[in-house]
């Protein structure tokens, strides 16, 4: 009796979580003349990749933009975060905790509160409307969370290891390079995944920093696609699948690291 209750609850929940995915995939696979909102719950009669082809044609430049944005932004913000986390965990000095808190503040603010000066600033330095401008934005506002993730990771590494290196005459940076960096691979994996997901899924910076549709990341292009009445519905749903695919693949492939970043970023602070 209890088992029946347990399983029926779990299956209901499963239905709730899978339904939107089903709508995306099933309708994306329908052809333009068979897709219709009134049959949105039905399985495709004939499976075709026409919708995906069309969505790819419309979104591939933006998918490439997203990759061109997310890769440098995630990598550079992680490297800066590693250095900061190293100092904040292994070289604490008077006032360093306050500096850390001041830095961390940037992760929590609503970005609306910096948007207007940010846009003016990027216009001033000539990066407004460009991918490099967007990359710079994501790096700067990513520093706080990458610092947090690395600091939490480094706290668990004994200080003695670093001290031993510095006694041997290595400077702070050399000790980082020789001792900490080789130990940091798991932290880099977690942080890179965290940043990849965050930056790929961003919408606010993309839509405000890059007004030119050709240069926009895929989340903005998908939203435009979905609001356009001239685009067939199977293309919109196929487009949603394409935009979701990179982060979904990361999640499915590296799920354990994904969850670790999630929890580390959330509670251990």
């Amino acid at each position: 009796m209890r088992r029946i209750l347990l399983w029926s609850l779990l299956l209901c929940a499963l239905l709730f979580y899978v339904l939107p995915i089903y709508v995306m995939v099933a309708n994306g696979l329908k052809s333009a003349d068979t897709v219709s909102l009134s049959t949105m719950w039905k399985l495709p009669v004939t499976v075709g990749l026409g919708g995906f082809g069309e969505a790819w044609r419309m979104l591939s430049p933006n998918l490439l933009n997203s990759f061109a944005m997310v890769i440098p932004a995630a990598v550079i913000s992680s490297i800066i975060g590693a250095l900061n986390g190293y100092v904040f965990s292994k070289w604490r000095f008077r006032g360093s905790e306050v500096l850390f808190a001041l830095l961390l503040f940037g992760f929590f603010i609503p970005y609306q509160a910096i948007l207007l000066p940010l846009v003016r600033f990027l216009q001033w330095i000539g990066l407004y409307g460009t991918l490099p401008g967007l990359v710079l934005t994501h790096i700067v506002y990513g520093i706080s969370v990458t610092t947090l993730l690395f600091r939490n990771f480094y706290v668990a590494i004994p200080r003695a290891i670093v001290e031993a290196a510095t006694v041997d005459g290595a400077g702070m940076l050399q000790a980082f390079w020789r001792i900490m960096l080789p130990l940091s691979l798991p932290a880099f994996a977690v942080t890179l995944i965290f940043q990849f997901t965050n930056i790929w899924n961003d919408f606010l910076f993309g839509i405000t920093v890059v007004p030119n549709p050709q240069a926009q990341p895929v989340t903005i292009a998908l939203n435009n696609l979905s609001g356009s009445f001239s685009v067939d519905w199977n293309v919109v749903m196929a487009g949603a699948v394409l935009a979701a695919l990179p982060t979904a693949m990361v999640y499915l492939g590296l799920g354990r690291l994904f969850v670790r970043g999630l929890i580390a970023g959330a509670v251990k602070a």
Binding site: A113, F121, M172
Partner: protein
């Protein structure tokens, strides 16, 4: 070389310097600039940075706007619905999966999956699921619910979801009785029906995260606690209700703070799913700021609204950061 000439504090500061400078400009400098903009006369495309007379007039204007009042109401209602749904569902799922059953890992992965997606993807899909002409409403036809309801004389069930402009459970009269001048509210204080589907979509996306948080907490509660309770004759229900859920309280607080932080800033999901909604029923401060700054060129007004968002967020963040500093020192 530097390593041997400077003390550790100086070296540390040197390494931190780029980040500190960037944060100083992009976070603190820009927040200060936004605040300054909110006090100026800059409300057209032509930049006008003269201070407004009286100084706080833009804020006063904004708080009197029916739309902004609706935004504040919506933020509040959305927060309550979204956090309530997400914690309720996430906790339930964690408890269901807190046992050795077949497919445990599978269920966990599926429930957490939406968290990896963008709010835009979620919004684009749920927008059609809550489309009044089709979507969920088709099920009422397919399952024969409408046929039954029509035969008993109630008529078919066809909620308008995000297109429904009505506000239920209005408390305006109660507010007018308690707060002096409470009868001057421009909006109905209640639950905008159109916000419910948005809260459901947000729950779909984040309840898996809540479940992951609780599963982490549950794995820390040892078998000894469970065994002791069972020996005392506690039922499974009592075990969770009286022992385990209270033990999970710190996780509930941490999770609620994170969700609160999401809901105060919510933008993309609403933008993609329902927009401002009928009569601003699903409008939120983040959309207000965006439209004032990038569509209406009312820069001072947009900046003022963003300051309200910032203050609301600070109410949660600042105590958290202060505790962090204290704990570290």
């Amino acid at each position: 070389m530097i390593g041997r000439t400077l003390g550790p504090r100086k070296q540390g500061l040197l390494l931190l310097l780029p980040s500190l400078v960037l944060t100083g400009i992009f976070v603190y400098g820009f927040v200060g600039t936004s605040f300054f903009f909110s006090l100026t006369n800059w409300r057209t495309l032509a930049v006008d940075l003269s201070l407004r007379e009286p100084l706080w007039q833009t804020y006063a204007d904004m708080l009197r706007m029916p739309r902004f009042q609706a935004d504040l109401r919506n933020t509040f209602v959305f927060t309550v619905l979204f956090i309530g749904f997400s914690i309720g569902l996430g906790l339930t799922l964690a408890i269901l999966l807190d046992r050795a059953i077949r497919g445990r890992g599978f269920f966990r992965s599926v429930f957490l999956f939406p968290y990896a997606l963008s709010f835009i993807v979620t919004g684009v899909v749920w927008r059609w699921i809550f489309n009044p002409e089709t979507g969920i409403n088709l099920f009422f036809e397919i399952l024969g619910i409408n046929r039954v309801l029509t035969t008993v004389g109630i008529g078919p069930l066809a909620p308008g979801w995000t297109t429904d402009p009505s506000v239920v459970l209005s408390v305006n009269q109660a507010l007018a009785a308690v707060i002096p001048g409470g009868n001057t509210f421009q909006v109905e204080w209640g639950v905008p029906v159109a916000l419910i589907p948005v809260a459901i979509a947000a729950t779909w996306q984040l309840s898996g995260f809540v479940m992951a948080m609780y599963l982490g907490g549950l794995s820390g509660i040892g078998q000894a606690v469970r065994d002791a309770a069972r020996i005392d004759g506690a039922s499974e229900f009592r075990l969770y209700r009286s022992i385990i859920i209270p033990m999970l309280w710190p996780i509930t607080i941490a999770t609620a703070i994170i969700l609160l932080h999401v809901s105060l800033k919510i933008f993309d999901l609403v933008f993609a799913m329902s927009g401002v909604g009928p009569g601003f029923a699903t409008d939120v401060p983040a959309i207000f700021v965006f439209e004032m700054m990038f569509k209406a060129a009312r820069y001072n007004l947009g900046a003022a609204a963003s300051m309200v968002m910032l203050v609301l967020s600070c109410l949660i963040i600042v105590p958290y950061l202060i505790r962090l500093v204290r704990k570290g020192e």
